[in-house]
């Protein structure tokens, strides 16, 4: 396989917080040792329930947050500790799209100014002028270039999200971290934006780290998928493996909980997890999923399962008792049949 565009090893973020009335110091283990690669032009989907560390990961990748430990290599270069100035040329290759179409655009700036911001900050003067460039970008994301002088409040949520995408494209990045880019949108608008991102990816050969809690959206957008639970990747693999032959109990439970229209009327066997996700302030020992796992054994409480590929499959699982390779998710098989 070719050299990875992005190589993440042991990526960790612990937040120091003060707790309770006494203000005792504690640490939130938001992200705890992630390993993954993203190749040029490819999408890695990052799924998991809220609080599992997806946003924190995304922010570390674009260096909005300083990792506590671990390394991030971009095009073979370690960028984990680069200062702001040294980071600048790389920022052009690494951009981010945010979840909230409202707070991600400066309400006092015109659309033109918002999209031109990355050019301004980096002192880039495009050949045809900034305005022409911005208008090309607006057109590229399906907005009317004449709306250059309008303010964000004049646009709907979906249109705002397009403005955010245009801004992220302004520097022609190689990799975009998209943090729940469609979660705040209505379903019909979600589809518009997902299709736009897919078209852009094809046209511009972009790589994405696509973060979402919606498994169906991730499946639709990502060739490779990493499933996170409490700051850890529990399973990572190709789309088909993760969705049709999941090996980690959590992945199976997650898939089974999705209310899917296509599964309407089926008497499917559901896996129902009990309880909530434990707090990352004090994650369970050993396997972090063990408090909700129906397969948990004694060893799960004492030994942390490493994320490894087994029996000749590229799919990596962090579980002491994974499903055997190739066992098809029953619920999927019924529909496929």
């Amino acid at each position: 396989m070719s050299e990875a565009l992005l190589r993440v090893r042991g990526l960790t973020k612990h937040f120091a917080v003060r707790q309770g009335a006494t203000g005792a110091k504690a640490s939130v283990r938001a992200v705890d040792g992630l390993d993954f690669d993203v190749h040029a032009g490819e999408t890695l989907g990052l799924v998991g329930e809220s609080g599992c560390g997806k946003t924190t990961t995304g922010r570390m990748l674009v260096r909005l947050l300083e990792p506590t430990a671990g390394s991030i290599e971009f095009q073979g270069r370690d960028i984990t500790t680069l200062g702001r100035r040294a980071m600048r040329p790389l920022r052009q290759d690494l951009q981010i799209i945010f979840q909230d179409p409202y707070s991600s655009l400066n309400p006092r700036h015109t659309v033109g100014k918002i999209v031109a911001m990355p050019l301004e900050v980096n002192g880039i003067k495009p050949a045809g002028g900034v305005k022409q460039r911005v208008q090309e970008l607006l057109e590229l994301v399906g907005l009317n270039p004449e709306h250059y002088n309008r303010f964000p409040h004049e646009f709907s949520g979906g249109q705002r999200q397009r403005i955010g995408i245009a801004r992220a494209l302004a520097l022609r990045p190689k990799l975009i971290v998209a943090d729940e880019p469609v979660s705040a949108l209505d379903v019909s608008i979600q589809a518009q934006v997902v299709n736009l991102l897919r078209d852009l990816q094809r046209e511009l050969d972009l790589a994405f780290v696509f973060i979402a809690h919606d498994l169906a959206i991730v499946r639709h957008f990502s060739r490779r998928v990493a499933v996170m639970y409490l700051g850890k990747v529990v399973e990572i693999g190709d789309r088909a493996d993760i969705y049709e032959r999941p090996r980690h109990p959590y992945t199976r439970a997650l898939l089974s909980a999705v209310p899917d229209v296509a599964a309407f009327g089926e008497q499917r066997q559901r896996i129902r997890l009990t309880g909530d996700v434990p707090t990352p302030l004090n994650p369970p020992s050993g396997c972090r999923f063990r408090t909700r796992c129906w397969k948990a054994q004694d060893v799960c409480a004492t030994e942390e399962p490493p994320l490894v590929a087994r029996e000749g499959s590229a799919q990596q699982v962090a579980c002491h008792f994974p499903e055997a390779v190739g066992v098809v998710n029953e619920h999927v098989s019924e529909v496929a049949a």
């Binding site: 209505d186 019909s188 979600q190 809690h213 639709h220 969705y243 209310p259 599964a263 309407f264 529909v335």
Partner: protein, 349 residues
Amino acid sequence: MTHDAASPPYLQVDDLRVRFSTADGEVRAVDGVSFGLQRGRTLGIVGESGSGKSVTSLAVMGLHDPARTRITGAIKLGGRDLVGLSDGEMRKLRGRDVAMIFQDPLSALHPFYTVGRQLVEGYRTHHAGASKAQARQRALDMLDRVGIPQPDRRFSQYPHEFSGGMRQRVMIAMSLMNDPALLIADEPTTALDVTVQAQILDLLADLQREFHSAIILITHDLGVVSQVADEVLVMYGGRAVEHGTVAQVMRGPQHPYTWGLLASIPSLHGDPEVDLKPIKGNPPSLINVPSGCAFHPRCAYAMKPEPCAAQVPQLLAVQADGHRVACHLPEPQRISTYTDEIAHVGVAQ
């Protein structure tokens, strides 16, 4: 099916219209919606945000500010019309005959009172004769019933000490304290994770079997509706555009907007490389609803100007029993079209 066609529906809404006057103009938030619901059945109301789902449910609860709102039509609950009831009479019904669960339980719970105290108060408002001990026992039973571990410890905790899923369970316990015949759940799981959503939906279904209440479940997620509802009402621009049993609407949708909703959601099945089919454009503003069929600017089948841009289509029965749709397209054409429209979604037929 526990559906008993002979008995009149417990809730009957007829030609409900809700209008707000605002600085920007009159908002026609609900514009002529009718439906009925039996006890023991669940009606799912779906539609994009701003389609009038919450306003409909708040009208049933009598929670609109009468000074700014004009409500016409009829809302009959157990035969009694709620439109025009005084605030005092409505308060007697709320909590006892009809209760509501909101998307954000934190905003519906008082932050400074313990959960137990709020449950007890909710009970004693409608059971004046009940002693404190009785009310407390009822609260503990309900907390236990909705799956909250250690109810006697949780009883004296404050809302902020509960996780999102647990808070929603508290809300459900509170809404069930007085055995309401109608339960309205407005996006009860939208803020929750899928695994917790699944728990809550299961819980609602169990409780419905046990209490035999009617449930209105409001959501923008067709997947949720397909799993828990018996009947579906699809709303667009403040109007009902399609109404039928969940099987009728999921397997044989007849309105282009319903097709659009179904076709635009990604599924866990089917070919992920095939592009989604979004509905073009944006939902309308309810101050400036498009003329005729409100969906016509976004509809791929619109016949313009006549009749789609000129006449509001009525919600009329189609051949299948109880299935109603508001669209000018001739029925044979609708039936021949929808199979293609939603084929890629792969709803099992």
